[in-house]
Structure formats: C-alpha cells, structure tokens
Assembly symmetry: D2
Homo-oligomer: 438 residues x 4
C-alpha cells in the first residue's frame, strides 16, 4: 500500500544520511526499551513502554532493523543452559512444577516481548509487518528462524478462526478497504475502480476475513461469481463491461480468486476455513446454487511440461515444436493447435495435476491447496485463460475444482494419508486416455 511505500521511501532516504554509529545507537536504544518492557516495570506500565518500543522500532531505518533482528537473536533467545538445567530436573522428577519450569525455559524471552508489544495501540499491525520484513531476510539469515517461529506461534494463537470475522465486501464498503483489495489482489489484478466495481455487482460476491485488532485490513479475500453453469473461461468474468446477471437464476458459484493479503501472516492459514464458510453461507442464501467450483490457474504447468518434454519421445513432435517457443509462447499459437495436439496437452496437464510427491503432496501449488482442502478435480478448460500470464504459466488452461461439503472430509483424508487425488470420472479419463497413448 502507498503507506508502506511512503515509509520505505522515507527510511531509504534517511538511511543515506545515517552513519553506522548512529544506527547502532538507534538499535541499542530500542533494545534497551525492550529490556525495560520485559522487566518488572513492564508489568505496571506495559502499555506505555510498549508504545515506546514500537515508536523506537518504527524510527529504525532498513539497516538498523537488520541490526535489531540480530539483537533479537543474540539477546532474546532461549538460554541453552537453563534448558538443560530444567530438563535435568524434569528427568529426575516429572513433577508439574518441573514441567512448568522447563516450559518456561524453552520459550524464548522475545516471545513475551512480542506479547507485551501487542499491548500498545497498533501493536498487532506492527508485529505482522515485522514478520514480513523478517521473512525477506530469512534466506540470508537462517539463524533468525527462531524469531520467525516465535512470531508464528503467537500469530497462530491470536489469529485463531474464533477471533476472525467474515465480512461481505461490496460497493457499500469503505474506500479504505476497497483500495486495499485493489492493491492486494494477486490472482487476477484489479485494473482500477471500474474493474473492482464490476466484481462487486449483484451477480458477484466478495468476502474477507478481518481481525478486530487490524480494522479495515483484510487478511484474505475471495471473489465469487454467481453463474448459470460452471464457468470455464476467465476473461469474460473479468470484463468490466460484461452484463450483470440475475443472481436468483444462478446454479453455480465460481470462486475465481483467493488472495492472502498479509505476507507477515504466511503460514497462518485462513484459506481452507474461508472457502468452506463461504460455501456454507452462499448455500443458505441461494438454495438453487448446487455447484461450488473454483476457476483456477495451474501455475506450475509450463515448468513441469518443459521438464517433461526434455526426455526424447515423451511428447509428440508438434508439442516439441510448441515447447521450443519457450516463454514466447502465445495464445495464438495455442489456439492454432490441432485437436490431437490439444488432447495431448490437456492429457498431460491432467496427469500433472494428479501428480503427487512424497512429503509435498500435489506437484501444483494451487492443486495442493484445494486437494488438501477436500475439493476434487472436476474439469480442465482449454483456452480458459488467454491472458499473457495465463498462457505463460498454464498454457492457457484453467481447471475447476469442485467442493462438495459431503465429501470434503473423505477426500481430504484419502489425500492426506495416501496422497490419493480426488477427481471426477471425466477428469480421470483425460489421464487414462493419455496414459494409453504413452
């Protein structure tokens, strides 16, 4: 959001004018405030001290934040000696007191620090943003994984489903929230207010989860079209000029976009709960809607196909020619494919979507989400997404996953325990047909 941007720009700006000594001083002051907050005094004047900590932290420039993260590792981590001592005591006597002491010893002090920081107004938002920055640095700083674990532990507790509220987003919603949807939408970018408005008309639904401590800040949102059949094609859905249909006539709810908004909450999953809640709510509002399906991209398909095609003889020569176009592949060249080639691609894609890997699950990341969530593969759509990105990533294909509340548990368990992928008969045949050919 512009606000983030402003802040970054501001600190970038400042960073040019601050010396290393100054940065160390800034960071040390912040750390000192953290210590005070964790002390006795913090119990009495917690809210005020927490505000001071957060204010000091927000004044840090980019480099100082890095220093601060280092300090969180050096000075606010678990004390191994204390762990060993309390573990020994517990070994000798597994009493509740000794367990409590051990539990205390294995919790890093920074976890309590974060808890107390949260007492200040706006604390939650700053902590979520802190993790966003932290995540960017993890690759270069594996030693910071512990900070991340502590934040995730807290966020899992704080952002428990029981504390989230599901809100419908429509044209009555405040511009603050709507602007954020425009900013966050990751699946099919929103091209400004006119585009957004179309997505909030009476034949559409948009829902988001909010947390009381982050007012007007969507955590995740989902966009739904109420249609007369299971939509195959993305472009008509996204056309701001498309006519508005009567939702009372709809037989199908198509989930065409799910976006996680907060990078700082990565790994704290809301998506599965959201989908089911929305299926439930829509089912009650529109008793005539019987099918709840996604219209999803297949983001890993091209990469997989390229890898697959490198082994000679595995793909037809026509397909090999197409593959040779690499990233320059266009909707036009795909549209020109003859029916056998088309069948070959569709078959391979079906096979890809049903592919699972040990310890990972489905190869495709979107498939991984919906299959683990209990949905089933329903239908593959040729030329379902003819946008540049759709062609590049998914060779223009889209897939519908279908949610049937009655089979969600069964599908999930079969998938989770045996990596068995639920798919409609039609879908399975795509693979088999292709299989007989290979």
């Amino acid at each position: 959001v512009p606000i983030d941007l402003q802040r970054i720009l501001r600190s970038l700006n400042r960073s040019q004018t601050r010396t290393l000594a100054e940065r160390t001083r800034d960071t040390d002051r912040t750390v000192e405030l953290c210590r005070a907050l964790l002390s006795e005094r913090g119990e009495v004047s917690g809210a005020r001290l927490a505000s001071d900590v957060l204010a000091a932290y927000r004044e840090l420039d980019e480099e100082s934040v890095e220093l601060f993260f280092d300090r969180l590792v050096e000075r606010f981590s678990v004390d191994p000696d204390a762990v060993r001592r309390t573990a020994d005591a517990y070994r000798r006597d597994a009493s509740p007191e000794n367990l409590a002491a051990l539990q205390k010893a294995v919790e890093a002090p920074r976890q309590e620090l974060f808890r107390r920081c949260n007492m200040a107004p706006g604390g939650t938002a700053i902590l979520v943003d802190m993790r966003r920055r932290l995540l960017r640095s993890l690759r270069d700083h594996p030693e910071r994984a512990g900070i991340d674990a502590d934040l995730v532990h807290l966020f899992r507790s704080w952002f428990n489903r029981g504390f989230l509220t599901l809100q419908r987003i429509d044209w009555q919603t405040s511009a603050v929230v709507l602007e954020r949807l425009i900013h966050y939408e990751a699946v099919h970018q929103i091209q400004g207010w006119r585009d957004l408005r179309r997505r909030l008309e009476s034949d559409r639904r948009c829902y988001a989860f909010f947390h009381p401590a982050l007012p007007q800040e969507p955590l995740i949102f989902i966009e739904v079209a109420l249609t007369r059949g299971m939509t195959a094609h993305v472009q008509p859905l996204l056309d701001p000029e498309s006519p508005v249909d009567d939702p009372a006539q709809a037989s199908c709810a198509v989930f065409y976009s799910i976006t996680n908004c907060q990078q700082g909450l990565r790994g704290v999953s809301f998506g599965n709960v959201l989908v089911k809640q929305v299926v439930d709510d829509l089912g009650r509002e529109f008793p005539r809607v019987k099918t709840f399906a996604t219209l999803s991209p297949i983001p890993g398909f091209r990469t997989w196909l390229v890898a697959h095609g490198t082994t000679a003889g595995r793909v037809s020569s026509e397909l090999a020619t197409l593959l040779a176009q690499g990233e320059n592949i266009t909707a036009a060249s795909l549209a020109a494919a003859r029916s056998t080639l088309r069948a070959e691609i569709v078959g391979l894609c079906a096979r890809y979507l049903m592919t699972t890997e040990p310890g990972v699950g489905a190869a495709d990341p979107v498939a991984r989400f919906h299959l683990a969530n209990g949905a089933r593969l329903e239908r593959l759509n040729w030329m379902g997404d003819t946008s540049a990105v759709g062609v590049q990533r998914s060779w223009g294909l889209t897939v519908n996953y279908v949610y049937r509340l009655g089979e969600v548990d069964r599908n999930h368990e079969a998938y989770a325990n045996q990596h068995r992928v639920a798919a409609s008969r039609e879908f399975q045949q795509l693979v088999r047909r292709r299989g007989s050919r290979a």
Copy 2:
C-alpha cells in the same frame, strides 16, 4: 447470570437421572470427538468438529464434566518420554530443530485441543466457563493444575491488552450488559435498576473492558464518581437519591468499585491496565480533575486486628472491649468510640495497611493490588463505610489510594523490589504517632 443458573439447574436435574454407565458413555463420546479434532481431519473440518466437541461438552452433566477433566489429565497431557527424548537430543545438539522438537514435546496436546475448540462460534465463552468449573475442583484435584496452566497460557495470549476494547457504560448501553453489571458487581452490590441508574448519571463514569469474542460480556469494570473533593464516605456515593452534581465542577475522580467479572479469567489481570487507562481518559476529558483516588475497603483489617489484639498489652482496654464483640460489632459501637480509641484504631489500621510479608507483598489484598499498581496510600477515613459488611470487615474504615501517573513507575518498583510502601506524609504520621505509643 440467570443463564448460567438455568444451565446448572438443568444439568443438576438431569444428573439425577443418569447412571454412571451413561455418564461414562457421554464422556467417552466427547473425548473421541476431541481426538478427531486433534487429528488430520481436524485441520480440514476444524470448525465443524470443534462445534461438535463443544456441543457434546455442554451436554455433559456435572459429574461427567469431572470425568472429562480426568480424561484431559490422563490422555491429553505431556508425554514424559517424549520430553526426555527431545531434551536429550537438544542436550547433544542445541540446534533450532531440536529446540523446536523440545518445545513441541513440552506442550500438552490439550493446549492445541483448546486452540481448535476456539474455532467454533462461542468457543471462547465455553472455554472460559470450563476454567471456571475447573478452578472449583482444583483443591480436590491438584493433578489438574496442568489443565489450568494450559488454559491460563492461552487466555494470557488471547486476552492480551491489545485485543481488549474499553467501552464507556451508561444509560445508553444495552440492557443485556447492564443486567450483567448488576449481577457481577462485587464491591458494593447494586440494588436493582434504580441504583444502577444513579451510578450512570452525568457525575459518574463507568468503563468496562470487552473482548471481541465475548460480545456484551464485560471482563472487568470500574465505577467512578466525579466529585468536588476526595470522597471519604461510601454511603452518600451509593445513595440512589443523592443529587446529581455538575461534572464540569469536579476536581477529583473517585474510583469506588472495581469488579473482575469472569472467574474463568482469574489470574489474567486487567485491573492495572484498566485503572491507568481510565485515569488517562478522564484526565483528558476533564482537565480540571487533578486527583485520581480510590475509595477502597480494607477487607483484611478485622481479622488482622483480632490476631493482633490477642497478645496482651498490645491494645488498650477500651479496644479490647470492642474486640470482644467479635462479629457482632456494630456501626453504633464504633461511632461511640472516644477520640483516643478512635486514634488507636486508625493508627493500627494504617500500620496494617503498610505491613508487607515476604513473598506476598502487602498483607491486605486490596492494598496489594493498588500498591503493586503504583498507587500510594493517601488517607484513612473513620466511619467511611457504615454498612454491615463495611463494619464487619474493615471496622467501618475506608482508605483512599491515590494514582499520580508521574510516580506510578517509581512507587511500583520500590514496592516490587524492596516492599517499600508509598504513602502520603499524613498517612505515614498516623503510623508513627501510633508507633511512639506502642
């Protein structure tokens, strides 16, 4: 609340008709649902399963709840072997992975169980109520302390100050909330709606903390009178017929009642934050108000005085005569005390209030709260509370603690580190005067 009462009556009723076998069956079914909720399946259909668990739990009668608590100890506690194993691994190699494994091992599975229960609507309320019941059984079941520790750990996280909202309560508030205030008020019982209404007039303030997951359910509330001087006497404050004063003329805010509403949240402290927040807010709304004082009972005074007076020669013969009345002491007999006797009692009370005990702090529980919170002892008021309970517990005395934001930190630290009690000069003189006499 009536609702609780109804539920208890209902289950009591039912308990008479249920056999032990039936109770075991009920409990086992609940435990089974708990297991399902903790399993793989719980990740996908968590909200639904959580609802099932809570529904099953609510159907349990009193005795079955006891069985259920037993099961939580037997089957959802920490596995000592796993703790030892992971502790050993950590001893050999204090790697982040080994720490994470140890952290996981020392957390009882019921903690995750509670977290998932919270996904269902109303989950938080049921868990808070579960702890209320648990606390009642702790004395007879010390082995359940672990359950309590797990619930407290969660509640400390969930009921973090950052998630609470401070709301003003007045005559505009919904009857649901107001009825609860009447029910909960513990310091000076509210004698019905007329009494309540007086306490919400324009020269009074009432604030409560709420949590978003417990709508319309106050966690703690505080009652304040805006007065022209530091009030010494309780009865005029509580008189529903007392004239309403102009708050703009007030120079003093008197906190005459603080009530924690949720037994299930015992030990998750809100009071200190609440007092300071209210001092802050009132200070802004009424710049002319300079004194923020409590008008507090001294609940432990009589007991202490009785114990003190048993040693011969420590009290005057007049006081000994009074003490001999025991619990039958009346406001009248106190009112009749001559000035030397009065001075003796006041002096002893001042001494009592400044008494601290190692590992405990102030001897008086209310003093313990306000002193730890950074307030100071300001003034003792003879005949400050002439109600039956006021006479019995505090020999009719009341005390004003004063909050000065500027010295709160200092007072707290002196008290926390050296058990040094902050008191006004006037107050200190009461003790000294008395001391010279002993």
Copy 3:
C-alpha cells in the same frame, strides 16, 4: 418521563418566585425572538435564532407559557383582511399567482415560525412537547384551536410514514428506550424491569416506530406474544414467571398491547400502519403463524351496560343485582355467575361491540380503532382479564380482533361507508342468540 417531571417541578418552583411583570417580560422577550426568527434575518441566521427562541421558551414557567400561547393567537394568526383581499383577487382571476397569494394568506405566520424553530437541535422534541401542553389548555381556551391545527398540519407532514423507522425492541435495546417503554405503557402497566424482561423474551416481540429527529424516543409500540393458539386470558401473558415457549412452535401472534407514547402527536395516527407492518414482518419471519389476533380490552362496556340496564325489563334480575354493585363489582362476583347470566352478559357485550353511532363509528373506542383498521371481531372471552381495572371497565371480558390481510380492505370499506361491522360467524351468533331473547 422523569426528565419532564424535573422540568415541571423546576418551573413550578420558579413560578412561585416570579411576578406577573416578570412573566410578561419573559414572554415578550420570547415573542420578540420569534419575530426576529420570522424576519429577513431569520433566513440567514435561522439555526442560531431558532435555538434562542427555544431556549427562551424552555425558560418560561407554566404561567408564562400560557401567556405565550395567548401571544401566538394574538400576533401570529391569519390576517382576515389579507385573506379577504387575496380571496377577492382570486375570485376576479383564478390565476396561479392569485392562488399562491391566497394560499399564503390563509397560512398563519406561526406555522412558518414553527418550521423555523425546527432548525435548532432538539426543535422537533420541543414542538411536540409544546403541543402536549397546548392540548391540556384547549378546553379552557378554544381560541387556541388554530395553533393546534397548525402544529397538527406540520406533524402530519413531518411524521409521514416514509420517515418513520420500525425497530424491534428487545433486551439488546438501550436502557434509555426500555425505561421509556416502562413509563409509557398504557394498556397493561409494566411492573418494573423484571416484568419488562419477560415481555421481551424469545416468545415475544415488541416493535416501535421511531422518527430520526427524536432518537431513542418511541412514538408508538406494540407488544406481541407468539402462542400456540389464540390467547383468551390476559393474566398468564403478563405473569413474569410464565415459562418461555419455543417461538418456532407458535401458530398465533397475539397483539396484547398498543401504546401511543406521545401526547403531543395525538391525532397523527401510526397505529394502523404499525399493526399491518408487524403482521407483514411476523408472517415472513414465522411462516407457521397463521392467525394474527389482538387480545383487547372493552373499555366502554361497563358504562354502556349501566346505561342499558337502567331501562327496566331490559336485563334479567340477576344482572340487575350485579349492576347494583356499581364500581364495587369484583372478579369473584362475576366468577360466581351462573351460565345463563354469563350468556346474557356475553351477549350484551357482543351487541355493544357491534353497535355503531352515526358520525362516530363503533361505540367502543378500541373497537373503533381495529374495525376502522379492517380487523374483524372474532371471539369474546369470559374472565379474560380479572385485574381490578379489567373487571371495572370490561366486567372481566376481553375480545380478540383478527387481522387477515386479505380482507382488511373490504372490512374497512364496509365499515367506513356503511358502518357494517365485520365479525366471525361465532361472534355474530352471540348477538343473535341474545337478540332472540330480548
């Protein structure tokens, strides 16, 4: 409301200390401000001047208000000469301009005065209260009828149904509003908060009309019980201890109380719209509810019966004996009536309820309201209201009027045009049976 009371007491108080000269001065000052508000200047600084007028008016004591009403007659009435002049012009030439001039001439200046007064905050409330006072004085001051007509004209426009909002009242409602219900309830007095609470339980409904300019001030409210059959008896409905029934099982909605709250809005009818709106809403919320009936008093019955019984031979000797008890009649003596006497009374009551008078309509005022509103007489209930007032006014009888949306128009027109009273066959037979006897 207490607030009114306070104001009255205050002014009563003051009135003792004010001389006639002072009152005249107060009134003249108010009148002067009224003139200013009506002048040119009023167009620019209307809101401020209006506030001044209202403040001055509120300071007037009771006697000065009387003087003020006199001034409104003397100085802010229609100018007969202007009317004649413009009427003459219109007679000569019925042009739009001449019509407009005549329209202007026949409108008293005080009407514009009231309109401008309404610009000040709280203006509407004060004007409504002004009419309440005015109405009390009309009998002694028939010359003030014009003021009343002007206020009614404005209120009819301002309190148009399109500006009213129907709100459900329940235990979530603010204490301010609930306290007012207790204060206003006129049909079956509310005996405090416990009684009120029972009337707002899940098997009851309460709705009120509000106007945006009178926030939290109910204009009219209706109390409904959702029951398993058409209730005949008042007392069980009003019993605070009566068990709460499951509203989903209800087949009948019983309207047991309708109260107009604002004396100052007398003659601006909301009742008919309210009943129909509520029938509509409840019908949608509870599709199983098929019968919408009132449980109504028959306030004029005893008076009518006494008059009727004075003509010798018209009533049985047993009834004559009862009538002789006059106002001392008790529930016990009615309960002791033998079946023939009972039949005689019921038959007479049925006859009374169907009685209409030219230019008035139904003789009974409650009947007048419901019959004009399109309801029909359904059933008479012996011992339906055994309260003291029920026995005194209605000889313990209650009546159910039934609303069927399908026949409401027809019933109304038959009643309005030919004074034909709609009644169930059962009800009609009560009259006929009686008739054959006379």
Copy 4:
C-alpha cells in the same frame, strides 16, 4: 449517476416500442391508483397502495410521464368553485371552522397525494426525481407551475434543517457515496478516484448534508482545504500530486467547492446553513484557524465584460483587443497582459462583483449566494484559475469571500434591505482606483 442513466436509457428504449394508446392506458392506470390512494381505502392500506402508485409511475416511459403531469394538472388541482364557496363563507364569518375549510380548499389534492406516496419505501427519492423531470418541462408547460409549488411546499417541510444530518466524508466513507460525489461535483470536476482521494486527505475536509429518507444520497456537499494562508489559486488545490500538509499548522479554511446534488430540490436551500455549520465545526476542531474564506469563480464576469466593453471609450484599447478574442481567449494572452491592463481588468471585475440590480441582488450568481449569506468580498486573484473554463468564464480571476460569524447578520441585513455589498477595504479600493480612471 449511472443508475439514472440506465433508467433513462431503458425507458428511452421502451418508448420506441409503445403506441400512444398504450401510453394512455399506462397513464390512466397510474391515475386510477392515485385516486384509490386518495380515497378512504388509502387511509387503511396507504403504504401498499402508495407502493403500487410508485411502481406504476416508474414503469411509465418518458412520454407517459408527460401525460401523467397533464393529468396532475387536470384532475388533481384546486377546485376554484370550492375556493370561492369557502372564501365567501369566511368573508361572512371569519370563524376557525370557516378558515379551516378555506385552507383545505386552497390546497390541491395532489399535495395530499404526494404526502401519501411518501408512505411507500423509497417514496421520497421518487418524488424528488419526479420534480427533477417536472422542472425540465416547466418552460414548455407553465400550467404545471402549480405541481411544482406543491412539491416545493412539501420538500421545504420535509427537508427542514432539523431533519438533515451533517456527515464528514472521507476515505472511510462507502464507495456508493464517494462515487456520487464524483458524479455530482459541479464546480471543479473530479477526475476519478485518485483526484477524489487527494481531496479527502488529512489537510482537507468534505462535509455533506444527508436526509434520513435518502440514505447515502448527498443533498449538498462542500470541499474545504486547510491551508497556511488564504489561497488565491485553484490549480494547486486540485493537483492530485500536491503534498499533504499538516492540518494542525493551518490558519485558514478555504471553501473551494459547494455543490447542490439534487436538481429535484432546487429552491430548497441548504447552502447557507451548510457553510455556517462547517465554519462552526471547523472553528471548534481547529482553534488556530482564524480565516474562513471561499475560493470562488466569477461565472458572470466575461459576459458582463463583453457587454460593458461594447460601449466605446469605456475600456482601454488593449482591453478592447483582448475582448475581440471572444471565446478564444487563452490563459497565455491574459498572462501576457501588462500591469496597467491587468489593473484595468481587476478593477472592472471588482466593480462587477459589487454591482447589484433591483429585485435581483448581486449581478454575479455566486456573489448573490455568498453576499446574501452574510459573507464579504475580500480579495480578487489575478490568474487564480487558469483552466479553460476558468479563463472563459472569469478571465482567469478568482475571488475570496470571507465569513466572519460576528458580522454575518449585519452584512446580510445591509445587503437584503439596501443592497449594500460588504467588502474589505482593499477590495473597495480596487473599485475606487478604477473609478477615478473612468
């Protein structure tokens, strides 16, 4: 709004397919429903009948609406005979009854019809829209002036200041309302959402009046900039990229746009009240803001200047040359003016702004509004608005009117009674200087 547009397009469309006979039928059906609504029956089933009337009206195509207006003149006007009769009666006896009868006779039945129409949901909006259409047709149909008078009479009563709510509009406001601002803004067109957003930043304020019966439909709104001095130039204010200033530093509130949104409410003035209310509110929120000024166009200046310049010798030859450019005049040619020419233009403009005409007031329409409202002419700004429209209409000049609450009444009265225009000394000198030259 787009919605209006759609409706118009829809009806335009339909109008092509409907014959005159069909239109007559549609209209007659509507008229019949109107009669029913006005009848006895309307009193009982008013809300439902009103809905029917409005539904029928909304189905009318453009031509049928014209027919409908004709019917409102023919069949729902005042009956001249009844007026004469009642006027005669009143002449003979000016009794309250006769006055009431006359009042009733001079009110056209359609007024009561409109009042009853308002009982249906959405009635107010439809009536306001009806007047919008009516106004467009008045020039060709002077006989419809009576309909207009009746609607205005109602609207004056319904849209009384006491019923309006002032709401601040900012980025928290719902998109529905914001979109309407974009649509309605008449002074300085809003160029989309980015432009709007800038106008709602923290150094700006936007307020609108709303009526409870027209939710989310602004009646009038005003845009204010909080600045460090009295702004002279429009363009920097409107620049979406202009930096956001700290409102706490502002010394001046500049009203740079006031827009009446509802054509159907023309003549029901809100503007004067709005300005004063906003001055009041801002004055309280920002005690440091001492100057409340407009930055206004001078829409009639060019026309006046052209007329003025046609008389030979009244303007300098340089000015004559410029005037010769007519509508092709550009900012560049004005910018090139030498200081004497510039002074001549400014002087003429000052003279124009102070010009008043008998029965009209100030010659310039914007001046007419602010001067009648009690503001004074403060300063003329050369090149204050360099937009095409600014140059064309006002030769690039802008003017600041200043509101001082202390002198508003005096200014208004001097203006209203003697057409005396309030102006700062500086402003008066502009005229005088110029005058000495002429």
